[in-house]
């Protein structure tokens, strides 16, 4: 049976409802919240600040550190044990790589910019939601940025390419499934995170990237609106 209809009547190119807000964590230097359906990401930025232990310091530029973490009760399945897992370590690493290209940390030698991403609720697409929140939080922290980073998971379910897979689609069993998280810099047009698990053809990847580009453009507008909401006096220059 072919995959012809998504639950809740969502279109194949349609994301779950998105909500974004900047400045949600008072003690942080920058912060943001990004919700997509039942996936909630909060990001806080601290720094640039001193980096310890010292051997981690880079005398030529600042260092970006990212930490992705699911809250213990955030999953619709079993409790998630607190502390880093192999999965969360890898996601932290690819998140750092997804964000680094938009930053210029040359003015902050020996310092660190810390990004902490916490997820109170997760139902698919959590690394992408975390990246969206983190890029807004970096902007909120006042760091120099070449672009924002917008991210969405696209994928293949049976013979269809669709955007923002939910949990039931990731677990679809009547045909092949591929999950393809993508992060990009919407203005510069380049991709900073790409992962895929599942089986697809080269043509399907091309189609998936095209869809990701369109949706990231829409997400970028939501992120920008959330930033302008906090900084209304900043005018309209991009």
């Amino acid at each position: 049976m072919a995959y012809t209809k998504r639950i809740e009547g969502r279109g194949f190119d349609e994301t779950r409802p998105i909500e974004a807000k900047v400045g949600v964590i008072k003690r942080a230097d920058g912060s943001a919240m990004f919700k997509i359906g039942n996936t909630w990401a909060y990001a806080a930025v601290y720094g640039p600040r001193n980096l310890h232990p010292k051997f981690l310091q880079d005398p030529s530029r600042g260092v970006l550190r990212c930490n992705y973490n699911m809250m213990p009760f955030s999953s619709y399945n079993d409790r998630v044990r607190p502390g880093a897992s192999r999965r969360s370590k890898e996601i932290s690493m690819v998140t750092q790589k997804a964000l680094l290209p938009v930053l210029n940390l040359d003015d902050f030698p020996n310092s660190v910019v810390d990004v902490f991403i916490e997820l109170p609720l997760t139902e698919a697409g959590s690394r992408c939601a975390g990246i969206c929140a983190a890029s807004m939080a970096l902007a909120d922290a006042g760091l120099e940025m070449k672009d924002l980073v917008s991210a969405v998971s696209v994928g293949r379910v049976d013979d269809k390419i669709l955007v923002d897979l939910d949990y039931s689609e990731e677990a679809y069993e009547d045909g092949p499934v591929a999950d393809i998280p993508v992060a990009m810099m919407p203005n510069l047009g380049k991709i900073t995170l790409l992962q895929m698990d599942g089986e697809v053809s080269r043509e399907m990847i091309a189609e998936a990237l095209e869809k990701a580009r369109k949706v990231c453009g829409d997400i970028y507008e939501v992120q920008k609106a959330a930033l302008k909401d906090k900084y209304p006096q900043m005018g309209n220059n991009e």
Partner: protein
């Protein structure tokens, strides 16, 4: 280390006021409790006191009862002081502050017998329901103790059992059966700075106090847990005065449950 801040705080207290303009025995506003905040949890609550925000969430599971209580379920409480919520928190295993916070909240709930663990037994010696309650900080504006205790009891009151067929728990299917929660212990922490008592400290005030006393109180005024903290000693008079303040304040907080 914070001598100037301390002198400033004490100077203000002598005039009956504080850094944010509050009176010594006044809580920050707003105080909010939102039960059922996280849909994936079996029970949850978001609590905000002023700028302090945290979430308590519960996952239930089925396990073998402890040998000394073969016909009872149980509870485990953890606290996660996320580095997202304060520049002073770090990643890694729970710090001593996180352990103390979790244990003080745990004691208030355990010692008041707020949950009837007998009613959580499925088969004696074999199977019982266990509560795993995690307290996760979102923003540390100070006084995590009182916010955590409030969130913990609110999450317990919100909690319902997931479906269970004797082998597997189906967390996606909720029953209407509530946890057997029969009491609502709440905790108020009173600080002593100089010769003044203060409730609901901000994170700055927490750096300069001499001693603190966390007091967990049941609905009828019975005390169910105490924890003294801070580097200075307290007299009997101090302790009784701080208990009286805490007992009065828990009445105010209880209205939010």
């Amino acid at each position: 280390m914070y001598e100037e801040l301390k002198n400033h705080v004490l100077g203000l207290l002598a005039k009956g006021t504080r850094l944010d303009g509050r009176k010594p025995l006044e809580y920050r506003q707003p105080i909010e409790v939102k039960k059922g905040y996280v849909p994936s949890a079996d029970g949850s609550a978001y609590v905000r006191i002023g700028d302090t925000e945290l979430i308590a969430g519960i996952k239930l599971n089925v396990d073998k009862p402890y040998p000394d209580t073969p016909d009872e379920g149980g509870i485990v409480i953890g606290a996660e002081l996320y580095p997202l919520s304060s520049p002073e928190f770090e990643t890694g295993p729970p710090s001593i502050q996180a352990v103390e916070l979790a244990r003080v909240v745990d004691r208030g709930i355990r010692e008041s017998k707020a949950v009837d663990f007998r009613k959580m037994c499925i088969t004696p010696n074999e199977k019982a329901w266990f509560i795993v309650l995690d307290i996760c900080t979102m923003n540390d504006g100070g006084n995590l103790f009182d916010a955590a205790a409030l969130a913990a009891i609110a999450a317990l009151q919100d909690c319902t059992f997931p479906a269970y067929d004797g082998i597997r728990i189906d967390y996606k299917t909720r029953t209407r059966e509530k946890l057997p929660v029969r009491k609502a212990p709440l905790s108020v922490t009173v600080l002593k700075a100089g010769n003044q008592y203060v409730v609901d400290p901000t994170y700055e005030e927490e750096k300069v106090y001499d001693a603190r006393l966390s007091v967990a109180v049941e609905e009828d005024g019975t005390l169910c847990a105490l924890q003294k903290g801070g580097d200075e000693a307290l007299s009997d008079e101090d302790i009784l005065a701080m208990i009286d303040i805490a007992a009065g304040k828990t009445e105010e907080l209880r209205k939010l449950l």
